[in-house]
Amino acid sequence: MHLVRQIRQLNGLQGLRHALRQVSTAPTKPATLKYERDPQPLFTDAETQKLLQSMTQLHLDRVFRKRTVPDNSSEIKFMTTEQLELEFQSMVEKAQHMLQMPPVVKIKEDVDRIIAKDPALKDFADTKFVFTDITFGRRQSERKVVVRETDGTLAYASLDTTKRMNQLYFPLDGRQSYTPRMFALEELIAKCLTEHKYEYVMDRLLVQYEPHEPEFHNISARVFEHLNESKQFDLLRSTRHFGPMAFFYAWHRCIDDLLYDMIRRDYLQNAVELIALSYKIHNVPVEYQETLAKLDALHPTPAQSALTELRSGMRQPEGQQGIEQEIHSAIGKTEKDFTADEISLQFIEQYIASEHALKKVQLELAVQTLKEVNQEKLQLFQGLKKAHGIQAS
């Protein structure tokens, strides 16, 4: 093991300045909702993950939106059909990677772990010594950082010190060595939230803090709470933060606003999934697996739908199928969608009728409007089909 000695002058200028900054900046207002239990086992559960991913959706234009890069050049290539197909697949994989959800874990408590007490070393130096393992290729969580106090105690460094040392030797791109002013001052974060810069705040939060830090929990909870009030859920849709957000609402039994938004935007499957997630987390004895399985059979996964969307850019076969496609594109729904809608509406109504729903009137209204719109669409769909002479299957 390669050990490097790092001397920190706690009484030096740097410490003073740090202290000054600490004094001048008030801590942010704590969020009201917290994870009381460890949410990790439920979150990492394969079924939960699937539900969350499905709810997140995958809009390629959202995921691959234009970003600022040092070199914004483009490359033009010739490709055969097979190569193009491979390219599409790799793109969807890349998009899924970009939507990787940040881990949801419980707050890690700082515990003193003393290795040895050597009173003989007392007053050897008037500064602490921090030893950091900087072996190449080791994981951050496995990296050992120990501190020799001035009174001769050798102990594992606190989480704060460990993070600081890790950042010093293996800097994470975008992480600041100090608390960003945005997170330090209450009015600034409030301003960001009122301006609906949710994605920006969340992106910075991910980079700045580890998922097990209390600040991470606090700020992310605040963002989600604010979102629940402003109801701008669409801003986070198809980003990596949507999954944790939905999980947060399901955990704290406040899914109704998100549910309403999903019904209003005609994402019925997502609504069903959200309800199912909530049932799963709170162990409600309702059989949801069956409905989900039915819906899965009818609906493609986000990755599949993204692929079909990509492929639709390529040539379409001519003939009768073309007409059918045209009808679909005009109405926006296929026969499968109508059956799926029926199943999901049934499930949603069941939820609204149960004691779990809090905003019953609002949800019922939304469902009613959607039903009417769907009815109209179905009629139009059947009429068009008849007119074009396509047999009803």
């Binding site: 390629l60 290539k77 010739f78 059909t81």
Partner: protein, 406 residues
Amino acid sequence: MLQRYVRILCQARSSSNWNYSQILSVKQNAGIQYLLCFRNTSFFNKLPAEDIWRGVTAVSNAGKKRGRGKGSGKKVAKDLNKGQSLGMGRNSRVWPGLNSPVLRGYELVHSQKMTDSHDKVNGIIKLRDSMSNFRIMKLNPIDRGWSGSKMPGRSIGPPDSVGEEEFSSFDTRVLENKIVFIMKGNMGRKRRYSVLSVTGNGNGLAGFATAKAPEVRTALRKSKNRAGQKLININLCENRTIYHDFYTAFGKTKIYCFQKPDGYGLICHRAIQTICKVIGIKDLYAKIEGSTNVQHIVKAFFIGIMQQRSYKNIANETNLYVVQKQKAKNGYAEVKGMPYLPTTNPYSAAVADYMHFTLGNKIVLKEKKIFPFYFNSKGHQLYQTKEERFRNQAFVRLHDLVNSYF
């Protein structure tokens, strides 16, 4: 007698600006008085003002042929009558019947002194001074051309409208303005001005033309209007750049043009820059090889830009998909061109390089970067090692400044 004469002289001096040196001299000596050769005529009062001024301002015919009198501080004829009025002089008076009515009401107007004469005289002098030195008006820096106050690169406005057709959204820029001579048996060496200008609406419609005329102004107007008659429609890629890299040539001028990403700008010869601005191309890199004759550059560039192929045509020609991957979109692959009959042969795509295809199987010679002579010397290495400890100084200073809010 003598006193009277002197008085007249004084009066003459005071009343008008009369140059009394014509009255040569008056000697006053113990009552004897005589006049020395008095002459009443000179070219000042014999010739009209125009002819007198020509002596100062113009250059003789022979001199003109030799190219004299073209300097910037050229003299201009002044109109000395400007600002003057009859009966008004250094000592302004009211002269009834001359500069005022004889009767005012029922009262007879008497000759009287007028006030504020001093300002008037000064005003006239100022007016004359302002007439004398003609200054070239200072150009706004925005309107400057390629070089100083020369015409090339400058805008001369939209072409004149023809009937109903108006060119209001157009802008014309001069590319070349030069003197050309022709020799004729009976006329001798005849000089004309040749102007090459390019006009366009900044949205893919542009034209260029040369015109010659004996005067610059007419040449400019002619070429501008002629360019307006020769408009060419140019398709722009994403409304800002060219469709693909291309090679084009006219005579000994060879141009390599490259499509560039948004925000790159126009990195090319100033003539191409001006043409691109007029057409509406915003991002382009072009390298000229060979002659940089402006007329040839313009022709070569227009030929190249007209011979561009769309993505669809390229795809059909090669039977391969044309796919664009943007780095700003994290490598998002966008299908730009689809062939009617896509090939299934994977080998053809591996062989076909897009750049080779668009440049006509030419390969751009990328020169090796040449480092300065001292680059590998010991002294330079020493300098670099010494400098290394200051490499983050600027960042640290900036960081300190950033973290001090007030």
